[in-house]
């Protein structure tokens, strides 16, 4: 059984057909990178996985449980196992870094304050921001905020991490720090689904790359194949524009 099994997933925004019958399986420990032109549905696909967007039809099964089956499964419990990192970081502005990270574990996993703090310190150390635990989001750079956001998601010890263009809102010199944290995470065997425009990151870290265009997955495979011998004409076209090849 795959960790995530998406079958015939459709999403409409009004009349606009954004996802057109997506089928996708993600295995435990796999790093899947989704690329494609803007408006192709990549972010919507990612946001359907934890139902920040409500799928219009189809099914998403996570660890054997349908996330759409509200009768039998609690979406809030399932979301605890799916960490998400946003383009705009979305740290809780009224809380300091430590509170940002410990709030959910204390409230949702009934961790004791002291335990949660010790977990949070380990994570802060991992993302290289141990000295920032008392800072508020507004006092941090974009890159620092994003690394805290990753630590916050990891504090729930999720089974999969969803990254929605995590470096797109960052100044160029901040991108490297965030990508490094993500690389470390991948090296530890975390299952990750990443929507990004960072092609070199996709090439280095992905086990599998998907190219989406107009609501469908037009090309799929390991990075070598995708970046060296794309088959679909629109995939070639997209890659030639972002990489300047073909």
């Amino acid at each position: 059984m795959s960790m995530i099994e998406i079958s015939d997933l459709n999403k409409y925004f009004g009349k606009l057909h954004v996802l057109k019958g997506i089928d996708l399986k993600v295995e435990t420990g796999e790093v899947v990178v989704v690329i494609g032109p803007s408006g192709s549905g990549k972010s919507t696909l990612l946001r359907c996985l934890n139902r920040l967007e409500e799928p219009s039809s189809g099914d998403i099964v996570f660890e054997g449980l349908s996330i759409l089956d509200d009768e039998n499964n609690d979406i809030n419990k399932l979301r605890q196992k799916m960490g998400m990192v946003f383009q705009q970081f979305n740290l809780f502005n009224h809380m300091d870094v430590m509170e940002n990270i410990t709030l959910a574990p204390i409230k949702l996993k009934n961790l004791k304050q002291a335990e949660a703090v010790s977990v949070a310190r380990d994570l802060l150390d991992k993302v290289g921001l141990l000295e920032k635990e008392k800072a508020y989001p507004a006092q941090l750079s974009g890159g620092q905020q994003q690394r805290i956001a990753i630590a916050r998601a990891l504090a729930m010890s999720p089974d999969v991490m969803l990254f929605d263009e995590p470096t797109s809102a960052l100044d160029p010199e901040m991108v490297g720090d965030v990508l490094k944290v993500m690389k470390d995470l991948a090296a530890e065997g975390m299952t990750m689904i990443i929507v990004t425009h960072e092609m070199s990151f996709a090439r280095d870290v992905a086990d599998r790359v998907l190219i989406m265009d107009e609501g469908i997955i037009i090309e799929e495979g390991n990075p070598q194949k995708i970046f060296n011998q794309p088959e679909h004409p629109r995939a070639k076209d997209f890659l030639s524009r972002v990489l300047g090849i073909f």
């Binding site: 979301r79 809780f92 409230k107």
Partner: protein, 225 residues
Amino acid sequence: MDFSFLGDYKYFFINGTRITIMLAFFAVLFGIMIGIILAMLKISHNKILRAIASSYIEFIRGTPLLVQLFIIYYGLPYLGIQFPDFPLFGQNIGDFMAGVIAMSINSGAYVAEIFRAGIQAVDKGQMEAARSLGMPYLMAMKKIILPQAFKNILPALGNEFIVVIKESAIVSIIGIHDLMYNADTVRGNTYKPFAPLIVAALIYFVVTFTLSKFVGLLEKRMDTA
């Protein structure tokens, strides 16, 4: 103008001010509770809940406070709902409660709009981040959205408190011994038609002005935090 009556009657003004402030305090307190609930209904995805909240807000804002006060004060006992009758603050708590209820119901409609705007001004990414961690909607609302909304709307809530203090003078009509009522009593007792009103106006002004300065200070402190 002769203010010598203040020697004999100062406690009328002091007690009246106390009642006015207490009435406004409870009215705003319950008004905030009513307002939060209405605001949550108003932003919900359920059409019926939204309609209930909208009707309440529109109706309260579209009718005079005096009418609402009379409906509560005369109407509820007529329907068999009595206000408990035991002395507090040197007068009937029943009347006081009627005043608080009417003013809360009224203030709630205005506070609801303040909260709705405040909640909608919080970036929607905050809710998404909270939900993505697995927080249920109400927990995310309570822990993440409302504290930030509250901070944004604190000045507006302070203004609402000031408005309620001023509007509360109307409860003197149902015999609550607030500042306005007591000022009127002093007029009658002293045969001075003018000076007691000036004293009352000055007290209202000092209270509201102090409050607005205090809100301003709070605003500044929260900006730096």
